[in-house]
Symmetry: C2
Subunit: 224 residues, 2 copies
Amino acid sequence: MHESFNESTEMYLKTIRELSIDNDLIAISALARRLEVSTVSATEMVHRLEEHKLVEHTPYKGVQLTGIGCQHAAEIIRSHRLWERFLADHLNIPWARVHEVACRLEHATDTKLTEALDAFLGHPTRCPHGNPIPQAGGVLKTAVTTTLNTLKPGLTCEIIRIHPESALLLEYLASHDVKPGNQLHIDEIAPFNGPIMVTIGEKPHALGQEIATHIFVTVIGSDA
Amino acid sequence: MHESFNESTEMYLKTIRELSIDNDLIAISALARRLEVSTVSATEMVHRLEEHKLVEHTPYKGVQLTGIGCQHAAEIIRSHRLWERFLADHLNIPWARVHEVACRLEHATDTKLTEALDAFLGHPTRCPHGNPIPQAGGVLKTAVTTTLNTLKPGLTCEIIRIHPESALLLEYLASHDVKPGNQLHIDEIAPFNGPIMVTIGEKPHALGQEIATHIFVTVIGSDA
DNA sequence: GATATTTATAAGGTTTGCCTTATAATACCT
DNA sequence: AGGTATTATAAGGCAAACCTTATAAATATC
C-alpha cells in the first residue's frame, strides 16, 4: 500500500470522484472538459486507467471508479483538503488561493504525510470552502444541502460549501463575499436564466446561474 | 517571476548546486551518478538547460550554474530545507525521513508558499540535518567545517551537518546517532581506507570512509 | 608520444500524455 | 424510423526525458 500513481492518473481519479455524486457514471466528455484535454485524450487515458483496474468504462454511458480507484481518489481529496486547511489556517494564504496550491501539494503527499498533517491540524472535518474531508478509510459524510440555482426568491440561506472548486471561481466568489458561513438572501431571479440577485451582509450581488450550481446552501428562513 | 520549471529541470539545478562548492565546475558524470541517469541523458539535459540559460557547459570540463540557474536552485533548496523543518518540528516525521518527503514537496512549492512557510517557521537558519537555509535572495552562509574523513584519531568534534543528503545515508546515520549537535570522538582509523572508529555518546561506531565525506564537523578538542 | 580513460556526439528506440482529423458506432429525439 | 448529436476508434504526430550501442574527440597517465 504505497503512494501515488503519477500526477495525471491522480488528476483523473480525483476529477471523476469530484464530478460524481454517489459514484454514478460520469461522461468522458465532462471529464475531458474539467481536465481541459480533448475527449480523444480522455478516452485514451480512461482505457489506461481501466487496465489498471481503477475505473470501469461503460461505452456510450460513462466511467465510474472501482473500489481501489475510489479509495485512492479519496486519499488525494483528503490530502488536498487538509493542505487547504493548513495553508489557510497556519500560513494565512488567502481563501481563494489555497485551492490551487493544494492542487500541487496533493500529488507530492503520501499516506503517512497525510495522516501526520491530519493530526497536526486536529482532525478537521471540512476544507475552508466547506467541503467534507474524507476520513482515512475513504468514508465521506455530506450534509443535506441544495444548490443555489434550485431555489426561489424570498429565501434566506446559509452558504455551506463551494463545489466543485476552481481557482477562477473561488477568486470571483471571494470578491462577492460568497463564503461558507455567510448568510445569503435571494432577492430576485431574472428571467431567461438570468442572474440571481442576492444580498450577503447588507450588500447586493448578482450571481450567474452557472456559478449558482457551485454554491451549496441550506435554507434557514423565508420572507413569507 | 513565477514558479517552477518542470521537476526534472529543478532536480538538475538543485543537484548541480548541491554538488558544487562555490559554483565550481561539476563533471556531467558526477551529476549523472547522483541523478541516477546515464551520462548520455545527463549531457542531453545539460544542453537543454544551456539553451534556457540556466547552466554553462564547458566541454570536457563540466557544468556550472548561471546567475538565474543558481538563484532558482537556491529557491528550490530553500523550500526543501524549510519543508524539512516543518515536517520534523511540527509533523513529527522522523529525522531520517523528512528529506525524501521534502524532495517531493519542493517541486510543488512556489515562492509565495515558501515565504509563507518561512514566516510560519520563524525564519529558521538550518535544516534538521544542519544545512543552512538559503535566504530569500539566494544568499547562503556556510560555517567553517571539515569533513570527518580528513581528521586524525584523538580528536573530539561536534557534528555540524550532513551533506549531501540521501534517504539511505540518513537512515544509516540515524541508526548510528550521527546527527548534528552530537559529539563524536575519533578513536582510531583503520588502514587501507578502512573504517573510522568513533564514539558518540559513550557508544562505539564504525563509519566507512565514503560516509565520512558526508559528515561535516568542527573540532572542539584533542586527547593530547 | 602512445595508450587508456573520460567525455561528447550520433543514431535509433521507448513511454506517457497529449494533439488533430476522419470515420464508425450508438443514443437521443421527434 | 430517420436524422442529429454524442461517443468511440483509428491513424498519424509531437515533446520531454529517458534508454542503449557505437564512434569520435579530448584529456590524463605512464
